[in-house]
Protein backbone atom coordinates (compact mmCIF):
# COMPACT_ATOMS: atom_id res chain seq x y z
CA UNK A 1 0.00 0.00 0.00
CA UNK A 2 2.84 2.39 0.72
CA UNK A 3 5.09 1.33 -2.15
CA UNK A 4 5.41 3.65 -5.13
CA UNK A 5 4.88 2.26 -8.62
CA UNK A 6 8.64 2.00 -9.21
CA UNK A 7 8.84 -0.45 -6.30
CA UNK A 8 11.00 1.98 -4.29
CA UNK A 9 9.31 2.13 -0.88
CA UNK A 10 8.12 5.59 0.23
CA UNK A 11 10.22 6.74 3.15
CA UNK A 12 9.92 9.51 5.72
CA UNK A 13 13.14 11.51 6.17
CA UNK A 14 14.13 14.30 8.52
CA UNK A 15 17.00 16.28 6.98
CA UNK A 16 19.08 18.57 9.29
CA UNK A 17 15.92 19.49 11.24
CA UNK A 18 16.23 22.10 13.95
CA UNK A 19 13.47 23.54 16.12
CA UNK A 20 13.27 26.67 18.28
CA UNK A 21 10.47 27.08 20.84
CA UNK A 22 10.24 30.61 22.23
CA UNK A 23 13.94 31.51 22.74
CA UNK A 24 15.04 27.93 23.46
CA UNK A 25 16.82 25.80 20.87
CA UNK A 26 14.99 22.48 21.29
CA UNK A 27 17.10 20.38 18.89
CA UNK A 28 19.53 20.95 16.04
CA UNK A 29 20.56 19.16 12.82
CA UNK A 30 18.39 16.13 13.58
CA UNK A 31 18.53 13.39 10.93
CA UNK A 32 16.71 10.10 10.41
CA UNK A 33 15.20 8.04 7.62
CA UNK A 34 12.25 5.72 8.20
CA UNK A 35 11.34 3.03 5.68
CA UNK A 36 7.97 1.21 5.57
CA UNK A 37 7.55 -1.46 8.22
CA UNK A 38 9.61 0.45 10.80
CA UNK A 39 8.51 2.13 14.06
CA UNK A 40 10.70 4.96 15.35
CA UNK A 41 10.38 5.27 19.13
CA UNK A 42 11.40 8.74 20.37
CA UNK A 43 13.11 8.44 23.74
CA UNK A 44 14.01 11.47 25.84
CA UNK A 45 13.29 13.38 29.03
CA UNK A 46 10.43 15.83 29.29
CA UNK A 47 11.07 18.95 27.26
CA UNK A 48 13.62 17.19 25.02
CA UNK A 49 11.38 18.02 22.04
CA UNK A 50 9.42 14.82 21.34
CA UNK A 51 6.13 16.67 20.82
CA UNK A 52 7.88 19.45 18.88
CA UNK A 53 9.45 16.90 16.52
CA UNK A 54 6.08 15.21 15.95
CA UNK A 55 4.48 18.58 15.14
CA UNK A 56 7.27 19.29 12.63
CA UNK A 57 6.78 15.87 11.02
CA UNK A 58 3.01 16.43 10.79
CA UNK A 59 3.56 19.68 8.86
CA UNK A 60 1.63 21.72 11.43
CA UNK A 61 4.80 23.52 12.51
CA UNK A 62 7.47 25.11 10.32
CA UNK A 63 11.03 23.94 11.18
CA UNK A 64 13.55 26.62 12.14
CA UNK A 65 15.90 24.97 9.63
CA UNK A 66 16.01 21.73 7.63
CA UNK A 67 13.17 19.85 5.92
CA UNK A 68 10.81 16.93 6.44
CA UNK A 69 10.57 14.77 3.34
CA UNK A 70 7.95 12.18 2.42
CA UNK A 71 8.73 10.10 -0.64
CA UNK A 72 11.59 12.49 -1.40
CA UNK A 73 9.55 15.72 -1.44
CA UNK A 74 9.27 18.40 1.24
CA UNK A 75 5.96 17.95 3.05
CA UNK A 76 5.33 21.70 3.04
CA UNK A 77 5.28 21.70 -0.77
CA UNK A 78 2.56 19.06 -0.77
CA UNK A 79 0.79 19.73 2.53
CA UNK A 80 -2.75 18.68 1.57
CA UNK A 81 -1.44 15.49 -0.11
CA UNK A 82 0.74 14.81 2.96
CA UNK A 83 -2.26 15.16 5.31
CA UNK A 84 -4.07 12.55 3.26
CA UNK A 85 -1.24 10.08 4.07
CA UNK A 86 -1.04 10.94 7.76
CA UNK A 87 -2.95 9.86 10.88
CA UNK A 88 -2.03 11.74 14.05
CA UNK A 89 -2.87 11.02 17.68
CA UNK A 90 -1.85 14.19 19.48
CA UNK A 91 -0.99 14.96 23.09
CA UNK A 92 -4.70 15.69 23.58
CA UNK A 93 -7.14 13.05 22.41
CA UNK A 94 -9.00 15.36 20.04
CA UNK A 95 -12.35 14.10 21.33
CA UNK A 96 -14.92 16.82 22.12
CA UNK A 97 -16.57 16.17 25.45
CA UNK A 98 -20.09 17.28 24.50
CA UNK A 99 -20.39 14.86 21.57
CA UNK A 100 -20.93 11.10 21.67
CA UNK A 101 -18.25 8.63 20.52
CA UNK A 102 -20.16 8.02 17.28
CA UNK A 103 -20.51 11.77 16.54
CA UNK A 104 -16.81 12.40 17.25
CA UNK A 105 -15.73 9.72 14.80
CA UNK A 106 -18.31 10.83 12.22
CA UNK A 107 -16.68 14.28 12.26
CA UNK A 108 -13.22 12.68 11.99
CA UNK A 109 -14.36 10.67 8.95
CA UNK A 110 -15.90 13.75 7.33
CA UNK A 111 -12.68 15.74 7.92
CA UNK A 112 -10.92 12.95 6.06
CA UNK A 113 -7.55 13.24 7.86
CA UNK A 114 -5.67 9.95 7.47
CA UNK A 115 -7.98 8.46 4.85
CA UNK A 116 -10.54 7.05 7.27
CA UNK A 117 -13.10 4.58 5.92
CA UNK A 118 -16.56 5.12 7.36
CA UNK A 119 -17.23 2.03 9.45
CA UNK A 120 -17.47 3.74 12.84
CA UNK A 121 -19.40 1.10 14.78
CA UNK A 122 -16.99 -1.68 13.83
CA UNK A 123 -13.96 0.43 14.79
CA UNK A 124 -15.49 1.28 18.17
CA UNK A 125 -16.06 -2.45 18.65
CA UNK A 126 -12.37 -3.21 18.00
CA UNK A 127 -11.29 -0.68 20.65
CA UNK A 128 -13.83 -2.15 23.11
CA UNK A 129 -16.30 0.74 23.26
CA UNK A 130 -19.22 -1.02 21.55
CA UNK A 131 -21.35 -0.64 24.71
CA UNK A 132 -21.03 3.17 24.96
CA UNK A 133 -21.22 4.29 21.33
CA UNK A 134 -23.94 6.86 22.03
CA UNK A 135 -22.94 8.15 25.46
CA UNK A 136 -21.52 11.67 25.72
CA UNK A 137 -17.72 11.65 25.79
CA UNK A 138 -17.90 13.86 28.90
CA UNK A 139 -19.28 10.89 30.83
CA UNK A 140 -16.52 8.55 29.63
CA UNK A 141 -13.22 8.07 31.45
CA UNK A 142 -9.96 9.53 30.07
CA UNK A 143 -8.92 6.01 29.01
CA UNK A 144 -12.18 5.51 27.08
CA UNK A 145 -11.74 8.91 25.40
CA UNK A 146 -8.22 7.87 24.39
CA UNK A 147 -9.73 4.68 22.91
CA UNK A 148 -12.05 6.84 20.75
CA UNK A 149 -8.90 8.47 19.40
CA UNK A 150 -7.38 4.99 18.85
CA UNK A 151 -10.51 4.05 16.88
CA UNK A 152 -9.27 6.56 14.29
CA UNK A 153 -6.15 4.39 13.89
CA UNK A 154 -8.33 1.32 13.35
CA UNK A 155 -10.23 3.11 10.58
CA UNK A 156 -7.16 4.73 9.04
CA UNK A 157 -5.64 3.62 5.73
CA UNK A 158 -2.81 6.22 6.02
CA UNK A 159 0.74 4.85 5.54
CA UNK A 160 2.23 7.17 8.21
CA UNK A 161 1.21 7.27 11.87
CA UNK A 162 2.43 9.95 14.31
CA UNK A 163 1.55 8.96 17.87
CA UNK A 164 2.27 11.35 20.77
CA UNK A 165 2.01 9.47 24.09
CA UNK A 166 -0.74 7.10 22.83
CA UNK A 167 -0.52 5.01 26.01
CA UNK A 168 -1.53 7.77 28.43
CA UNK A 169 -4.54 6.83 30.61
CA UNK A 170 -4.67 3.39 28.99
CA UNK A 171 -4.83 0.18 31.07
CA UNK A 172 -2.80 -2.96 30.31
CA UNK A 173 -4.96 -4.34 27.49
CA UNK A 174 -5.19 -0.82 26.09
CA UNK A 175 -1.40 -0.98 25.75
CA UNK A 176 -1.68 -4.38 24.07
CA UNK A 177 -4.32 -2.94 21.72
CA UNK A 178 -1.89 -0.21 20.61
CA UNK A 179 0.87 -2.78 20.06
CA UNK A 180 -1.42 -5.00 17.96
CA UNK A 181 -2.54 -1.97 15.92
CA UNK A 182 1.13 -1.11 15.30
CA UNK A 183 1.86 -4.71 14.26
CA UNK A 184 -0.96 -4.81 11.67
CA UNK A 185 0.00 -1.32 10.46
CA UNK A 186 3.70 -2.15 9.94
CA UNK A 187 2.89 -5.55 8.44
CA UNK A 188 0.85 -3.72 5.79
CA UNK A 189 3.96 -1.66 4.98
CA UNK A 190 3.04 1.36 7.06
CA UNK A 191 5.52 3.29 9.22
CA UNK A 192 5.05 5.10 12.52
CA UNK A 193 6.82 7.60 14.78
CA UNK A 194 5.97 7.05 18.41
CA UNK A 195 6.71 9.27 21.44
CA UNK A 196 6.13 7.45 24.70
CA UNK A 197 7.50 7.08 28.24
CA UNK A 198 6.41 3.47 28.70
CA UNK A 199 8.44 1.60 26.05
CA UNK A 200 6.32 -0.50 23.69
CA UNK A 201 6.97 -4.28 23.84
CA UNK A 202 8.88 -4.72 20.61
CA UNK A 203 8.48 -8.52 20.06
CA UNK A 204 7.83 -9.06 16.29
CA UNK A 205 7.69 -5.28 15.87
CA UNK A 206 10.53 -3.52 14.02
CA UNK A 207 11.16 -0.74 16.64
CA UNK A 208 14.15 1.58 16.40
CA UNK A 209 14.93 3.87 19.35
CA UNK A 210 15.84 7.46 18.62
CA UNK A 211 17.45 9.33 21.50
CA UNK A 212 16.46 13.00 21.81
CA UNK A 213 18.88 14.90 24.04
CA UNK A 214 17.74 18.37 25.05
CA UNK A 215 20.33 20.65 23.39
CA UNK A 216 22.07 22.88 25.87
CA UNK A 217 19.86 21.67 28.71
CA UNK A 218 22.07 22.33 31.71
Amino acid sequence: MANTSAGVPKSLEAVKLSCVRGDRLVFEALEFTLVPGEVLQLVGANGSGKTSLLRLLSGLALPYAGTVRWDGRDVHQQRLFWHRNLCVIGHLSGVSASLTARENLAVAVALGAGGLHANVVEALGVVGLSTCIDTLAARLSAGQRQRIALARLVMSKAPVWLLDEPLTALDLDGKRLVESLLRTHTSRGGLAVLATHQPVDSSNLNVRNFQLRGVGSE
Binding site: F81, V88, L92, S96, S98, L111, A113, G114
Partner: protein, 223 residues
Protein backbone atom coordinates in the same frame (compact mmCIF):
# COMPACT_ATOMS: atom_id res chain seq x y z
CA UNK B 1 -17.57 17.17 -3.26
CA UNK B 2 -16.56 15.70 0.06
CA UNK B 3 -15.03 19.01 1.17
CA UNK B 4 -18.64 20.23 1.36
CA UNK B 5 -19.37 17.26 3.59
CA UNK B 6 -16.43 18.21 5.79
CA UNK B 7 -17.72 21.79 6.09
CA UNK B 8 -21.24 20.52 6.81
CA UNK B 9 -19.85 18.20 9.50
CA UNK B 10 -18.04 21.11 11.20
CA UNK B 11 -21.17 23.29 11.00
CA UNK B 12 -23.35 20.53 12.45
CA UNK B 13 -20.80 19.69 15.14
CA UNK B 14 -20.46 23.28 16.34
CA UNK B 15 -24.22 23.90 16.44
CA UNK B 16 -24.87 20.59 18.22
CA UNK B 17 -22.07 21.26 20.71
CA UNK B 18 -23.31 24.80 21.49
CA UNK B 19 -26.93 23.72 21.89
CA UNK B 20 -25.86 21.05 24.37
CA UNK B 21 -24.06 23.58 26.52
CA UNK B 22 -27.06 25.71 27.57
CA UNK B 23 -25.00 28.39 29.29
CA UNK B 24 -22.82 29.20 26.36
CA UNK B 25 -25.14 30.78 23.85
CA UNK B 26 -27.30 32.48 26.44
CA UNK B 27 -24.37 34.51 27.84
CA UNK B 28 -24.10 36.98 24.95
CA UNK B 29 -27.92 37.24 24.94
CA UNK B 30 -28.09 38.16 28.64
CA UNK B 31 -25.26 40.62 28.25
CA UNK B 32 -26.95 42.24 25.25
CA UNK B 33 -30.26 42.67 27.10
CA UNK B 34 -28.50 44.10 30.15
CA UNK B 35 -26.59 46.72 28.14
CA UNK B 36 -29.68 47.83 26.19
CA UNK B 37 -31.85 48.01 29.30
CA UNK B 38 -29.28 50.03 31.25
CA UNK B 39 -29.49 53.10 28.99
CA UNK B 40 -33.12 54.09 29.68
CA UNK B 41 -32.30 53.98 33.40
CA UNK B 42 -29.43 56.35 32.82
CA UNK B 43 -31.47 58.67 30.59
CA UNK B 44 -34.86 58.70 32.24
CA UNK B 45 -38.03 57.80 30.30
CA UNK B 46 -38.09 61.00 28.21
CA UNK B 47 -38.23 61.32 24.43
CA UNK B 48 -34.42 61.14 24.21
CA UNK B 49 -34.39 57.38 24.74
CA UNK B 50 -36.26 56.77 21.48
CA UNK B 51 -33.68 58.72 19.48
CA UNK B 52 -30.69 56.84 20.89
CA UNK B 53 -32.15 53.33 20.56
CA UNK B 54 -30.33 52.56 17.26
CA UNK B 55 -26.95 53.62 18.67
CA UNK B 56 -27.53 51.66 21.88
CA UNK B 57 -28.68 48.51 20.11
CA UNK B 58 -25.78 48.52 17.66
CA UNK B 59 -23.18 49.23 20.37
CA UNK B 60 -24.62 46.50 22.60
CA UNK B 61 -24.55 44.12 19.61
CA UNK B 62 -20.88 44.88 19.00
CA UNK B 63 -19.96 44.39 22.68
CA UNK B 64 -21.98 41.15 22.98
CA UNK B 65 -20.30 39.78 19.85
CA UNK B 66 -16.85 40.56 21.20
CA UNK B 67 -17.79 38.67 24.36
CA UNK B 68 -18.84 35.58 22.38
CA UNK B 69 -15.80 35.41 20.06
CA UNK B 70 -13.47 33.60 22.42
CA UNK B 71 -15.79 30.59 22.50
CA UNK B 72 -15.38 29.87 18.78
CA UNK B 73 -12.05 28.04 19.19
CA UNK B 74 -11.94 27.69 22.97
CA UNK B 75 -13.30 24.12 23.18
CA UNK B 76 -11.47 22.96 20.04
CA UNK B 77 -8.20 24.24 21.50
CA UNK B 78 -8.80 22.61 24.87
CA UNK B 79 -9.63 19.11 23.65
CA UNK B 80 -7.17 18.92 20.75
CA UNK B 81 -9.71 18.78 17.90
CA UNK B 82 -8.15 22.00 16.55
CA UNK B 83 -5.12 20.00 15.36
CA UNK B 84 -7.41 17.50 13.66
CA UNK B 85 -9.12 20.44 11.91
CA UNK B 86 -5.78 21.77 10.65
CA UNK B 87 -4.66 18.26 9.62
CA UNK B 88 -7.67 17.76 7.36
CA UNK B 89 -6.83 17.44 3.64
CA UNK B 90 -9.81 19.67 2.90
CA UNK B 91 -9.14 23.42 2.53
CA UNK B 92 -8.98 25.06 5.95
CA UNK B 93 -10.60 28.37 4.83
CA UNK B 94 -13.79 26.52 3.95
CA UNK B 95 -13.86 24.76 7.33
CA UNK B 96 -13.36 28.08 9.12
CA UNK B 97 -16.16 29.62 7.03
CA UNK B 98 -18.38 26.83 8.37
CA UNK B 99 -17.27 27.69 11.91
CA UNK B 100 -18.08 31.37 11.32
CA UNK B 101 -21.55 30.48 10.03
CA UNK B 102 -22.09 28.25 13.09
CA UNK B 103 -21.07 31.15 15.36
CA UNK B 104 -23.42 33.51 13.53
CA UNK B 105 -26.34 31.12 13.80
CA UNK B 106 -25.85 30.28 17.47
CA UNK B 107 -24.51 33.52 18.94
CA UNK B 108 -25.72 36.41 16.75
CA UNK B 109 -29.09 35.33 15.32
CA UNK B 110 -30.71 35.18 18.81
CA UNK B 111 -29.26 38.66 19.44
CA UNK B 112 -30.86 40.04 16.27
CA UNK B 113 -34.28 38.70 17.25
CA UNK B 114 -33.88 40.07 20.77
CA UNK B 115 -32.75 43.42 19.32
CA UNK B 116 -35.97 43.63 17.29
CA UNK B 117 -38.07 42.87 20.35
CA UNK B 118 -36.21 45.34 22.59
CA UNK B 119 -36.30 48.11 19.97
CA UNK B 120 -40.03 47.57 19.63
CA UNK B 121 -40.37 47.68 23.42
CA UNK B 122 -38.47 50.99 23.46
CA UNK B 123 -41.10 52.17 20.94
CA UNK B 124 -38.84 52.61 17.92
CA UNK B 125 -41.04 53.57 14.93
CA UNK B 126 -41.81 50.78 12.40
CA UNK B 127 -39.64 52.01 9.47
CA UNK B 128 -36.44 52.45 11.53
CA UNK B 129 -37.27 49.13 13.23
CA UNK B 130 -37.27 47.35 9.86
CA UNK B 131 -34.10 49.19 8.88
CA UNK B 132 -32.52 48.09 12.16
CA UNK B 133 -33.31 44.43 11.48
CA UNK B 134 -32.06 44.59 7.88
CA UNK B 135 -28.82 46.37 8.84
CA UNK B 136 -28.26 43.84 11.63
CA UNK B 137 -28.78 40.99 9.18
CA UNK B 138 -26.25 42.60 6.80
CA UNK B 139 -23.75 43.71 9.44
CA UNK B 140 -23.52 40.78 11.87
CA UNK B 141 -22.03 38.33 9.33
CA UNK B 142 -19.06 40.71 9.18
CA UNK B 143 -18.89 40.49 12.98
CA UNK B 144 -18.81 36.69 12.83
CA UNK B 145 -16.30 36.41 9.97
CA UNK B 146 -13.85 39.02 11.26
CA UNK B 147 -14.46 37.67 14.77
CA UNK B 148 -13.47 34.16 13.71
CA UNK B 149 -10.26 35.59 12.27
CA UNK B 150 -9.45 37.54 15.45
CA UNK B 151 -10.33 34.53 17.61
CA UNK B 152 -8.00 32.35 15.52
CA UNK B 153 -5.17 34.85 16.05
CA UNK B 154 -5.62 34.93 19.82
CA UNK B 155 -6.16 31.23 20.64
CA UNK B 156 -4.90 30.24 24.06
CA UNK B 157 -3.34 33.62 24.84
CA UNK B 158 -3.51 35.05 28.32
CA UNK B 159 -5.74 38.11 28.47
CA UNK B 160 -7.34 36.88 25.25
CA UNK B 161 -10.73 38.57 25.69
CA UNK B 162 -9.29 42.08 26.00
CA UNK B 163 -6.81 41.47 23.19
CA UNK B 164 -9.66 40.22 21.00
CA UNK B 165 -11.71 43.36 21.70
CA UNK B 166 -8.72 45.58 20.86
CA UNK B 167 -8.10 43.74 17.58
CA UNK B 168 -11.69 43.69 16.35
CA UNK B 169 -12.69 47.21 17.47
CA UNK B 170 -11.20 49.17 14.53
CA UNK B 171 -12.40 46.47 12.11
CA UNK B 172 -15.98 46.68 13.44
CA UNK B 173 -16.22 50.50 13.45
CA UNK B 174 -17.24 50.85 9.74
CA UNK B 175 -20.10 48.36 10.26
CA UNK B 176 -21.20 50.26 13.39
CA UNK B 177 -21.05 53.60 11.56
CA UNK B 178 -23.18 52.46 8.62
CA UNK B 179 -25.50 50.28 10.68
CA UNK B 180 -26.44 52.87 13.27
CA UNK B 181 -26.28 55.63 10.63
CA UNK B 182 -28.83 53.85 8.44
CA UNK B 183 -31.29 53.44 11.30
CA UNK B 184 -30.85 57.05 12.40
CA UNK B 185 -31.48 58.22 8.84
CA UNK B 186 -34.55 55.98 8.59
CA UNK B 187 -35.88 57.55 11.80
CA UNK B 188 -35.54 60.97 10.11
CA UNK B 189 -37.25 59.69 6.97
CA UNK B 190 -34.08 59.99 4.89
CA UNK B 191 -33.20 57.33 2.25
CA UNK B 192 -30.93 54.58 3.61
CA UNK B 193 -29.98 52.70 0.43
CA UNK B 194 -26.42 54.10 0.45
CA UNK B 195 -25.62 52.64 3.85
CA UNK B 196 -27.28 49.34 2.97
CA UNK B 197 -25.13 48.90 -0.15
CA UNK B 198 -21.99 49.71 1.84
CA UNK B 199 -22.93 47.18 4.55
CA UNK B 200 -23.68 44.56 1.90
CA UNK B 201 -20.31 45.32 0.28
CA UNK B 202 -18.54 44.86 3.63
CA UNK B 203 -20.36 41.57 4.18
CA UNK B 204 -19.26 40.23 0.77
CA UNK B 205 -15.68 41.43 1.34
CA UNK B 206 -15.56 39.73 4.75
CA UNK B 207 -17.11 36.54 3.39
CA UNK B 208 -14.45 36.25 0.67
CA UNK B 209 -11.29 37.42 2.50
CA UNK B 210 -11.77 36.63 6.18
CA UNK B 211 -11.72 32.79 5.89
CA UNK B 212 -8.35 32.85 4.12
CA UNK B 213 -6.91 35.26 6.67
CA UNK B 214 -8.35 33.13 9.50
CA UNK B 215 -6.73 30.01 8.00
CA UNK B 216 -3.34 31.77 7.77
CA UNK B 217 -3.80 33.06 11.31
CA UNK B 218 -4.71 29.64 12.63
CA UNK B 219 -1.71 27.98 10.94
CA UNK B 220 0.61 30.60 12.40
CA UNK B 221 -0.77 29.97 15.89
CA UNK B 222 -0.55 26.18 15.62
CA UNK B 223 3.09 26.03 14.67
Amino acid sequence: MNFMRAAAAILQRDIRRLLRRRGQWTQPLMFFVMVVVLFPFALGSGEITASIVPAVVWTAMLLATTLSLEEIFRSDFDDGSLDQLALSPHPLPLLLLAKAIAHWLTALLPLILMAGALARALNLAPTPLWTLLVTLLLGTPVFSLVGTLASALTIGLRGGALLLALIVMPLYIPVLIFGAGAVNNAALGLPTSGEMFFLAGLAVLAATLAPFAAAAGLRSRLS
